[in-house]
């Protein structure tokens, strides 16, 4: 395997942005397809909305799958596979006549493709930018924000022009564009170091691949041994529970407090817009060494959670509603830009793929658990939104508290061999990597450890 020169960083940013925008946001159009599906197939409300939930669930579970794939091969391969899955999944929905098959094509295959594109695109941004990791992740993740904003209108246009099947077909074509972007993103030497051995021959490469596969799987469980990472995962689940409740019930709540349907929809659009800006802004802010990603993360969650607890006061006037929504979008959108930095700080760059996958899974778990809990409260109390949002706010604040716990634990912890340190950006792994790319000692150690794990 020849050593590739790395691609220019601006190309990586651009390609990463486009990959998340084209390849990972098709499920955001689900709201639009829902209406068209109900008209066409006339199935129950529950069954049709299940499709969206399934796509989301597969998106999260695909996180660890993506990690394994990235560990076996490269980020680039993962994106290409994701693009192909997008193509197969969405375009074969064109031929579907029975809605139940849509669950497999649109939900599982398509959802998996989306997930692979999203994970790999962000992980590669993590590899390429040691210095401005947050900013790079911010730009990459803002691609998802743009996709969130544009995909519903785009999907509606396709349905209007080509009807539902044609729309599916062309969504597949849109999703496969990422293959082109992926080919522009050559693996970073950091990534390749994980694969290469000194003096590699075909035989050792095969042994290496086999060992990598099983070590890749074991790695996932290995990272769970790290207690800080566990706290981070719990924090992620908690605030996603709160987040999903807010996103689900906010429009209905605004209407309940006097807005019209159109007004509520426009306010939600503001959240999307705010989120795009914030992903870049927060990425930018996190680069500053004094603030650091972890403090930002804690602060963001704390503020959003507190604002949500007091939502009933905000929601009494129209400007209040807009302010709350914009703040919420601004803050929670930006958090995704911080994932990469925090994960690298916690577990090191070589484990980024695995840890990212696990984090994505945690996001999914929180998002799937939130609505049923809220439905129980809202239905049980008959349209009583206030306690529901209070609970959501508390969950988000809980996420923030777990994050604080994690930081505190880090302060008093010594660096260990187990899974990287968490002290900060200027620690051992980063120094090594910044220093000499030709230095193969460090990877060899990792190599030995992997063989041990196997």
């Amino acid at each position: 395997m020849a050593t590739h020169k790395p691609s220019p960083p601006w190309l990586i940013i651009l390609a990463s942005f486009l990959t998340t925008a084209f390849g990972a946001c098709i499920t955001y159009g689900t709201g639009v397809t829902y209406k068209a599906l109900r008209d066409r197939y006339n199935e129950s409300v529950v069954l049709t909305s299940w499709l969206g939930s399934l796509a989301l669930a597969v998106f999260s579970i695909g996180g660890p799958v993506g990690s394994v794939l990235i560990n076996i091969s490269t980020c680039r391969t993962c994106i290409v596979i994701g693009g192909v899955l997008n193509l197969i999944g969405y375009s074969s929905s064109y031929l579907v006549t029975d809605m139940n098959f849509l669950f497999v094509t649109f939900g599982v295959i398509g959802g998996l493709g989306q997930s692979l594109c999203y994970s790999a695109s962000l992980v590669i941004a993590g590899f390429y930018f040691e210095e401005h990791r947050s900013l790079a992740s911010g730009v990459a993740v803002s691609g998802a924000g743009v996709g969130m904003l544009l995909m519903p209108s785009y999907t509606q246009y396709l349905i209007d022009t080509y009807d539902l099947e044609g729309a599916f077909l062309l969504l597949g074509a849109t999703g496969v564009q990422v293959c082109v972007f992926a080919l522009l993103m050559r693996p970073h030497p950091l990534e390749q170091k994980r694969k290469l051995q000194p003096g590699d021959t075909k035989i050792s490469q095969n042994i290496y691949r086999r060992s990598n596969m099983c070590s890749g799987c074991l790695e996932h469980f290995g990272i769970l041994r790290n207690k800080e990472f566990l706290l981070f995962l719990v924090s992620t689940v908690m605030w996603h529970i709160g987040n999903s409740i807010v996103l689900l019930y906010l429009p209905s709540y605004f209407i309940y407090r006097g807005s019209s349907f159109v007004e509520a929809a426009s306010i939600m659009l503001m959240m999307g817009a705010g989120s795009i800006f914030s992903r870049i802004l927060v990425g930018f802010a996190a680069v500053d060494e004094n603030t650091g990603p972890r403090i930002l993360y804690t602060g963001i969650l704390g503020l959003s959670g507190t604002a949500t607890c007091f939502l009933s006061y905000f929601a009494s006037t129209l400007p209040g509603k807009v302010v709350y929504t914009f703040i919420y979008g601004l803050y929670t959108g930006g958090i995704y830009a911080l994932f990469n930095s925090i994960l690298v700080e916690l577990l090191g760059i070589e484990k980024l793929a695995s840890s990212f996958g696990a984090t994505l899974l945690a996001c999914g778990v929180g998002t799937l658990v939130g609505p049923p809990i809220a439905a129980f409260l809202v239905v049980g109390e008959s349209e009583n939104y206030e306690p529901t949002f209070f609970l959501a706010g508390l969950c988000i604040i809980a996420g923030s508290i777990f994050q604080i716990l994690m930081t505190l634990k880090c302060q008093f912890k010594l660096p260990d061999v187990d899974g990287g340190t968490c002290a900060g950006a200027d620690d051992i792994p980063q120094d090594n990597i910044k220093g000499n790319l030709a230095d193969l000692q460090y990877p060899t150690e990792i190599q030995m450890k992997r063989f041990d794990d196997c």
Binding site: S91, D163, A173, T174, V180
Partner: protein, 365 residues
Amino acid sequence: MNMPYVFSTLTLIICTYIVNSVALTMIPSQSMLWHLEGERFELKCRLTGPSPTNDLKLLKDNGDIFTGTLSSKTNADGTVTTTLLYEKSKAELSDAGTYKCTNNNEERDMEVGVVAVTPQHGTFNPDQVTLGCEIVGAESKDYSVIWMKKNVSLTDDAKYSISNTSLSLSILKPENKDGGEYTCNFIFNHGQRNLSVPVNFYAKPHAEMKEKKSKNLAQDSTLILRCTTYGHPAPNVTWFKGDLELEPEKDTRISINGQYPNSELHIVELDFDDRGDYICEASSGHFPNSTMRATILIRIKDKLAALWPFLATVAEVIILCIIIFICEKRKSKEVEDDADGATDNAANAQDHKGKDEVRQRNVRA
């Protein structure tokens, strides 16, 4: 000791018996009776005694004496009940007054009131519509009024305003769908009678389809159009394609479900001929010159219409991927060649190190 107590109780029992055995009653036995003008009006005067009597009389306060039909019935205990029945098929306003039933010894009184209520209907006006109920034959102290629409009471709020006399209801800034049948309900304070009078808010027929101006559908798919109509009285809904009325009996592909308020048009197995303007029309006999139509243009697209852009896009992706792939291969080949070349040169330099001077001298010379 208890003798006075026992004696008075006995007297009470005997007196009640005596009174009951010769009892004069009026039916209905209320202090006040309300009737609507035109309703059937009936009063009974009843005397129960040991034998039938002819002395029953029904008088009105203005001196009129009413003759009715007298009938007798023997009861189980041997007494006889004589009933004087006075009935009128249609009550008039002048029938109001105090009626007295007497048999020379006793009399019973009853107030009878007769009212006429006239509804004042309203027609749609974007600022305000006022509905009213005019009542003749009773004063405001005799009743209270509740306005209702479809069994829901209306109160003074942002939308409705009820007058001081509560005889008018104003609907502020009304919309078309506020039209319909309202009721003013009179509840009389005495006499246990409620009166419900329908008042109409007439609204012109209104039809709308919640769709964009045009829609593209694939060949062989199904067209479903939903038309929502408002208006009072309920409008008739007709579907047209262009100028032609759509009739489900003539074409099996077409079916129309529902009329007012929601009507759905289904056409299955669409073909290119089905392209055109589809119109939902709401009309009402009450407003002959105001029918409203909602139109949508339906275009039929080839089944495979989406296939061409799809193939073009996939081809573009494949071509771009191949180009990038080839460029990369070439670049990495160059890098390898350079690397090989460098190592070769280095090797050569080492091999011929000793002979360099000789070579160079030769070259220079």
